[in-house]
């Protein structure tokens, strides 16, 4: 059905299909596409920052605009690029890996996506409506409560929307993994990417509410005159820092754990060897998540929490190096003695290991709370977190894109261009950020829009800017690759790598609407590999061929989101004129009305009939 119907549809029908879809694969692809768009936006902002810092006392952009740039670069990259692309992978791949036909809440899944997208649009709308937020991506109070104009208001409402979307996604994945695993898929047979999705979703569930509360308090202070951060009325600005980092630190692990999962999928496939130390990998994932929640104050060592608190958080932070080390050694041991095939996906994975390890080492340095007083708010910190986020998360995303592209879009990305993109980006990345360690140690503070001549910072900054342009070149080659592949690439087979081990490679590329005609019987870890070793062509079905129940598509999530979007604008502007309250109420009425319709209207879904399934080729 999927193939035939997409060929015959006009553009309007396809658009309507995507606006109303509740199919986890389509939603996953939309997450990835929207995330890529924001990634490019954030990348352009990064280039503008680097151009400004190319030479001493440069005046490419004004100080105010520079503040907006750094704020939007950070916010966009974390909330609108990295998180959604990873959520996109989770959406598109995880149900396939556990042998499910969809996620547990398809409607909620679609709602989560639209909330994220409109949150991102809301945030970027600020550029055109009087200036972007300019209080840094951490929006520390009282800087953010004092910031004039509506920039920070857009930050608050945009993140509130997209945060709610992410929270829904997290709950959805958790329920899916708990209830919808195929027969025989026990917890300890789940692929590592599914495991990291599970653990990252737990982190989302517990971390995002803290952000929600923090944003509410900031919103109340800015828009309704409350006094949470107003010292004159007894408020306390440290509260924001705690709330932000109770969310913010786990967020780092929400990003890195799925990336770890992606690498744990790629190494075994291209080393043709099962993952070394599977159970210790699962254990390490849980350890990282557990410890990750008890280290947030290491962002606040210089606030003055006192030696006892600093010491506790320092030790907890250093402890995270242990499970991370377990993972690094397991990946190395997976490749040890394997028959390794090096392609683009593998190149990104191989490059990840040393790059991320450097970021991990500087992390331990920063964790030493006394030494941190020296590093704090310098380019050393900037270098550290870019090594972790780019060297870990972005490399993971690119590796995952190359690896799963056939499963997502039915074509294999061009190898040659993949390699060119990799080398440009990889060299550019190290050029940009390695030298920033030393700039930081020499005392260059972060977030300053200019630096002075002849302080030993000139060459380093120029090198860094050159590196940034190489990264941009690499990204452009990747985009060209995507376009080229879409136009010319051959249709991929079900298992284009030939050595696929997990269930997603057992079904056609791209996966059919219903994923599995018959749910597969899972006989162990790496179920497809087990069948291959037993000489079976495909998975043994666990059920007879039967009608498949499917959820109905719905436009309600989009309308609901638009309602919240309108209401958010009302919230922002009711400060200027009470007439905007009408907009607020109208938006809320739309959103709540949609909720009511959803709740009251019966929606039993539909069935794909057995006869149609039989007619369709494998």
């Amino acid at each position: 059905m999927s193939i035939a119907s997409t060929q015959n549809k006009g553009f309007g029908a396809i658009l309507w299909d995507y606006l109303t879809t509740v199919d986890h694969k389509k939603i996953g692809n939309m997450y990835i596409a929207a995330g890529a768009f924001f990634f490019i936006l954030g990348g352009i902002e990064a280039l503008i920052i680097r151009i400004q810092l190319m030479a001493p006392e440069n005046d490419f952009i004004s100080a105010g605009l520079y503040n907006e740039m750094i704020t939007m670069h950070g916010t966009t990259m974390i909330f609108l690029a990295a998180t959604p692309i990873l959520v996109g992978f989770m959406n598109a791949i995880m149900p396939l890996q556990i042998g499910a036909r969809d996620v547990a809440f398809p409607f909620l899944n679609s709602l989560g996506f639209w909330l994220f997208l409109f949150g991102g649009i809301m945030l970027n709308l600020s550029w055109f409506l009087g200036g972007a937020p300019d209080a840094g991506w951490t929006a520390y109070t009282p800087l953010s409560t004092q910031s004039p104009g509506h920039g920070v208001d857009f930050y608050v409402m945009g993140l509130q929307l997209s945060g709610a979307g992410t929270l829904m996604g997290g709950i959805n994945f958790l329920v899916t993994i708990v209830t919808m695993r195929a027969p025989g898929m026990t917890y300890m047979r789940m692929p590592l990417f599914t495991w990291t999705t599970f653990v990252a979703s737990i982190l989302i569930l517990f971390a995002f509410p803290a952000l929600t509360v923090g944003l509410f308090l900031l919103m109340f202070d800015r828009m309704f005159g409350s006094a949470f951060f107003d010292v004159a009325l007894g408020g306390n600005s440290v509260i924001w820092q705690h709330l932000f980092w109770i969310f913010g630190h786990p967020e780092v692990y929400i990003l890195i754990l799925p990336a770890f999962g992606i690498f744990s999928e790629i190494f075994p496939v291209f080393a043709k060897k099962r993952l070394f130390g599977y159970s210790s990998m699962v254990f390490a994932t849980f350890m990282i998540a557990f410890l990750g929640f008890m280290v947030w104050a290491h962002h606040m060592f210089t606030v003055g929490l006192g030696p006892v608190a600093n010491a506790i958080f320092a030790v907890a932070t250093m402890a995270i190096a242990v499970p991370t080390g377990i993972k690094i050694f397991n990946w190395l041991a997976t490749m040890w003695g394997g028959s390794i095939r090096i392609n683009s996906a593998m190149l990104w994975s191989l490059a990840f290991i040393p790059s991320f390890t450097i970021g991990g080492m500087t992390g331990v340095m920063l964790a030493a709370s006394t030494a941190d007083f020296q590093y704090h708010d310098t380019y050393f910190v900037v270098a550290h977190f870019h090594y972790v986020i780019v060297g870990g998360v972005v490399f993971g995303i690119l590796a995952g894109l190359h690896y799963w592209w056939p499963k997502l879009f039915g074509k294999v990305l061009h190898e040659g261009m993949g390699k060119i993109a990799f080398w440009l980006f990889f060299i550019g990345f190290h050029l940009t950020f390695f030298i920033q360690h030393f700039l930081g140690l020499m005392g260059m503070p972060r977030r300053y829009w200019v630096f002075l001549e002849n302080q030993g910072l000139d060459t380093g900054n120029l090198v860094s800017t050159i590196g940034a342009f190489l990264m941009a070149l690499g990204s452009i080659v990747f985009v060209i690759n995507v376009v080229y592949t879409t136009m010319k690439g051959e249709k991929a087979s079900a298992d284009p790598w030939g050595t696929g081990r997990t269930l997603e490679w057992a079904i056609s590329s791209p996966a059919p609407e219903y994923n599995f005609k018959q749910l597969p019987l899972v006989r162990g870890l790496d179920p497809l590999w087990i069948e291959k070793m037993d000489g079976n062509v495909k998975m043994t079905p666990a059920e007879p061929l039967n009608d498949i129940h499917m959820p109905n598509g719905s436009i309600l999530p989009l309308i609901m989101t638009i309602g919240f979007f309108i209401a958010s604008l009302g919230f922002i502007y009711q400060v200027d004129s009470k007439a905007w309250l009408i907009v607020l109420y109208a938006g809320m009425a739309i959103a709540l009305g949609c909720m009511l319709i959803r709740s009251l209207k019966d929606d039993h879904g539909f069935h794909i009939h057995k006869e149609d399934l039989e007619r369709e080729a494998d």
Binding site: F206, A210, M294, L305
Partner: protein, 104 residues
């Protein structure tokens, strides 16, 4: 309606009755705990004594809610319990920080 209910398996009905009895006992205990907490405060006793007592009563009462009213004691609630305890753990460390290292 009544003949519908009568046809239900009598064993099941009996079990449900039994469970309902437990629920009512739970409720009675919760009311008693609440009363004690209010009385202790109304009596105006020393706060170093009162605060631990009312906090303990609250925790026990909430435990009753979770395990009896919300059926967390039933089978098949292992993952649910694990996640609720995860949330409670984060809650504890959050409140601990906010009462100790938010300085003035």
């Amino acid at each position: 309606m009544t003949d519908h209910t009568n046809k239900l398996n009598s064993f099941r009905r009996h079990k449900q009755k039994e469970e309902m009895k437990h629920q009512v006992i739970t409720f009675a205990l919760m009311i008693i705990f609440t009363l004690i907490a209010f009385l202790v405060v109304a009596a105006g006793m020393d706060k170093t004594y009162v605060i631990p007592v009312i906090l303990t009563l609250a925790v026990v009462q909430v435990g009753f809610q979770f395990y009896y009213f919300m059926h967390m004691k039933d089978k098949g609630h292992e993952v649910i319990a694990a996640l609720i305890y995860g949330g409670i753990w984060i809650a504890i460390i959050t409140i601990l920080t906010f009462t100790t290292i938010i300085w003035w």
